[in-house]
Assembly symmetry: C2
Homo-oligomer: 123 residues x 2
Amino acid sequence: MEKHTATKLFESLSSGVRLDIYRLLVKCGQDGMVAGQIAATLDLPPNNVSFHLKGMNHAGLVTVEQEGRFQRYRANLPQMLELIAYLTEECCAGHPEQCFDQTPGACCPEAALPPISTTPSES
Amino acid sequence: MEKHTATKLFESLSSGVRLDIYRLLVKCGQDGMVAGQIAATLDLPPNNVSFHLKGMNHAGLVTVEQEGRFQRYRANLPQMLELIAYLTEECCAGHPEQCFDQTPGACCPEAALPPISTTPSES
DNA sequence: TCAATACTACAAGAATTATTGAAATATAGT
DNA sequence: ACTATATTTCAATAATTCTTGTAGTATTGA
């Protein structure tokens, strides 16, 4: 996953409104919900919900499918799993459990070095 | 986890700079990194990194520990696990695997109902 | 005490984002 | 074709965020 994709996904979840929408869709799983139903459930103006859904869809956080005059939205769960994997893919070479060990250097031997040699000082 | 906590965490990851910082810290696990080392590694102005680290720490995404005149930052992995759990805690009653089933109504029986009865129309 | 280093705090600017209301588009049923 | 419903688009304002430069605080070592 590219960094830009990840930041867009996180940005989509950084608003209370969008987080509510997403969790509602996660709750509904493959059933999804249509836009008006989402707005009614969360007691929000439909145009505001539409605004956020558009952004979430663009980010890849949700998918949309037309059903007549309804737009059915679903949480994009596979994308979320990829996002989580991206977040931890370099974590202890793919074994994030080790990160909870207290052993220094277990995950990142380079970082166990003293925190020096960071000032090139070209003068 | 409260919604506000979750949105703050996601907001912390919605910037390319902060995402880079976090992934770097995840990579280093319990070893962590000191602020200056983070700035040097990512080739960013130290005050900008400090600005973002402060926000990330306030959000609970990272922890900080003083080491003499160094500030050592670490990714708050347990918090991230809680965040992921929060995102999926209502997903199919705690069994998100089911969300990938194509069976309608398996996760959210209520949503399988027709998308009507959303317009109270008080006139 | 003095100087150097590591980091943080503050202020100012541009840039982005959120919310609302009104209008527009598209589908369904008559 | 006409009306009602479902959703989106547009415009405008308010609010927030990002970045940089400068100054300040705290620790280390001579």
